[in-house]
Amino acid sequence: MAGRVSLFVTCIVDQLFPRVGLAMADVLERVGWEVEFRRDQTCCGQPAFNSGYWDEARQVARHFLQVFADADYIVVPSGSCTSMITHHFEELFASDPAALEEVRSLRSRVWEFSQFLLEVAGVEDVGARFERVVTYHDSCHALRELKIKEGPRRLLRRVRGLELREMEIAEECCGFGGTFSVKFADVSGAMAETKIDSILRTGAEGVVSIDSSCLMQIRGALERRAPGVETWHLAEVLASQ
């Protein structure tokens, strides 16, 4: 065993896309890591933080700190939630030196799934086979806060049978943005349409991303326009054999 990782299965994955969590565990085990799941975990606090309810976000973030206090590595199937923990917790605990210390220690322990594979586990080929034509959507927080751009593409290129076709506007936001997608449903919907136009122009059979929330937005809109086009979390593609 290479070591032990603790999964942080985000609330969206836990409730709506549990297969993504299982797929992530499969891949991690396959490349030699021991996987644990701490059942007391819930959420990173991002929904409240992004909505301006920082007191409530702080409570939930503190719960996260408690649950994962002694975990060596925490792996997350989401760029957005990872970034919340590694980039925004500091803001929440700015006036709490003790918590701040813990938050800073998290930076080297919390990893987005694809980054963990490449930078900690040091694997690029996880032995996957997935015979589909896919396009890749850069999720915003992964791209701009975690600087994840090439990593997931490198992993995808090693998947047997897979063809990666870039869309023109891979880096443009899908329009999800949490509560933005309901507060400004029309604008968010229009943004999704633009994204979908670009996806459909590639002729790919589906879209891959490392954030289930983006995929929920993209798929939700695709279902209305092109129900045959699928969405997969990177973990699902890498778990497939």
């Binding site: 994955v13 836990d14 799941f37 819930t42 992004n50 915003c140 701009r144 933005f180 798929r219």
Partner: protein, 479 residues
């Protein structure tokens, strides 16, 4: 607090030609910017951004010192510095100068600061004809609209609309070619330039140590406004200062590339006071009006002070997926896009414009391109928290607050969280796949809004934690 202007947003989104005009123009501007920062310049470009940020920060943290220095140096060069607390004071000063000298016609070059205070309306009310001379601004003035973009004010207009406009307002043949339209404007405006008694410009930068202003432009109209009339008045915000002339190099390199993808704009003027002994042309009098109008309020907020570093390049607008859908006119003030979303509520207060910081998917594209590295996404978040505090104070967020409190309670009590199966309560049924409706009682609020444009995943029969427990159990049995 005011509701989100949903109807107006909807009207824009369903206006197909407008949507295409905005999206295509901003895309073109994005491409031009990218092309002007080729691979071999990327590293330098990041260094320039850092440097520009540092200079702005230093200047604002010592602003009173630089303001006083500027006043001295400008006086020594024969110019005069005038302070104004608001738009009315700017207008009053310009009107006084114009009336004293018998000026009836004022030519203006593009300036966001004068747009901000509606200078033209003030002057027109005093009977002083005021003509915008930047082509885009001229179009907008003829149409009686306001600019929809910081750099390209007529970005929302097509050439066909402009053809109609010129035909109607200038009584010329209908002309659809941008080149010929430009010639028409050149001819009309040339006459104005030659007879104007006063030129008003903005200033992109104000150099404290030299008493100079810098103006960046492509058309030459700002040069004409500042060279031909006997009086030149420049209007700028107090935040536009930099310490020394040599600090400008880095800003010039950033501004042209970020705004229009030009390594340098066509005309970069550094003007210091009126014409000097022996010079044949140039203004005989020069005034620099520095405007507060809310800026000192922003300055006093250290967490958001950097909002004042903005050099008005428009890059954040061009890269913002929200701006690119809703255009400039849905923003309540002349500053639109991400920078408008952060400065408008800071200048005008939360009461009216609280929703602006929420009109963002927080994608971060704005912060990534900002040439002076304003952390716009962080300030958006900060303002959201401020808006919530304000709403709680005014008792308007009771229900929302209750919901988040309940949410936090559930999320800090794992057993409750498991039992609640948050999403699933509303959605779970025996069907699988994606749903376009939910049971009546739940078809309200957020779910209803979501379903207007998208389907929702039907939640699986088991959550991850259930499946995980089952998997571990099975593994244990197999061993």
């Amino acid at each position: 607090m005011r509701p989100i202007p949903v109807e107006s947003l909807r009207a824009t989104l369903s206006n197909q030609p407008l949507e295409e005009a905005i999206y295509a123009s901003t895309r073109r501007l994005m491409e031009k910017r990218a092309a002007s920062i080729p691979e071999h310049l990327r590293e330098d470009f990041q260094k320039w951004r850092e440097q520009a940020h540092r200079i702005k920060r230093h200047t604002l943290e010592n602003l009173d010192y630089y303001l006083e220095l500027l006043e001295d140096r400008l006086r020594a060069r024969g110019g005069k510095l005038v302070y104004a607390r608001d738009g009315a004071e700017v207008a009053r000063f310009i009107t006084e100068v114009a009336k004293e000298r018998g000026v009836r016609l004022v030519v203006k070059s593009k300036s966001m600061t004068t747009e901000e205070i509606h200078l033209n309306e003030w002057l027109e009310r005093e009977g002083i004809e005021t003509v915008e001379t930047d082509l885009g601004e001229y179009i907008i003035q003829l149409a009686g609209e306001r600019p929809s973009h910081i750099v390209a004010p007529a970005l929302h207009k097509t050439r066909y609309q402009i053809a109609d406009l010129f035909h109607e307002k200038l009584r010329v043949e209908r002309e659809e070619e941008p080149e010929k339209q430009t010639l028409i404007a050149r001819r009309v405006l040339r006459e104005k330039f030659l007879s104007a008694g006063l030129g008003v410009t903005g200033a992109n930068f104000v150099v404290a140590e030299s008493g100079s202003i810098a103006i960046i432009e492509n058309e030459g109209n700002a040069r004409l406004c500042s060279s031909l009339p006997p009086i030149h008045i420049a209007v700028a915000g107090i935040e536009k200062l930099v310490p020394r002339a040599r600090d400008l190099a880095v800003f010039f390199k950033l501004l042209g590339r970020s705004g229009t993808g030009q390594p340098l704009t066509v005309y970069t003027s550094l003007l210091t006071g009126p014409r000097r002994e022996g010079e044949i042309d140039g203004p005989e009098e020069f005034y620099l009006v520095l405007l507060d109008s809310g800026r000192t309020k922003v300055l006093a907020e250290p967490r958001r002070r950097e909002s004042l570093y903005c050099i008005r390049c428009g890059a954040c607008l061009n890269h913002c997926p929200v701006y690119r859908k809703i255009g400039g006119h849905n923003y309540p003030w002349v500053y639109s896009g991400p920078i408008g979303a952060i400065i408008t509520p800071q200048f005008h207060g939360m009461e009216k414009d609280w929703w602006l910081p929420f009109a963002s998917s927080l994608c971060g594209a704005c912060g990534e391109v900002c040439p002076v590295k304003i952390d716009i996404p962080r300030i958006l978040l900060d303002l959201r928290a401020e808006a919530v505090r304000e709403k709680i104070r005014s008792g308007e967020a009771r229900l929302e607050r209750l919901a988040f409190r309940l949410w936090a309670w559930v999320m800090t009590h794992p057993k409750v969280y498991e039992a609640a199966g948050l999403f699933n309560l509303a959605l779970r049924d025996d069907e699988s796949g994606w749903k376009d409706t939910v049971p009546g009682v739940f078809h309200a609020g957020p779910l209803k809004e979501w379903l207007r444009f998208r389907k929702l995943p039907a939640p699986p029969a088991k959550t991850f934690r259930d499946l995980w427990a089952a998997r571990r159990q099975k593994e244990a049995l197999e061993e």
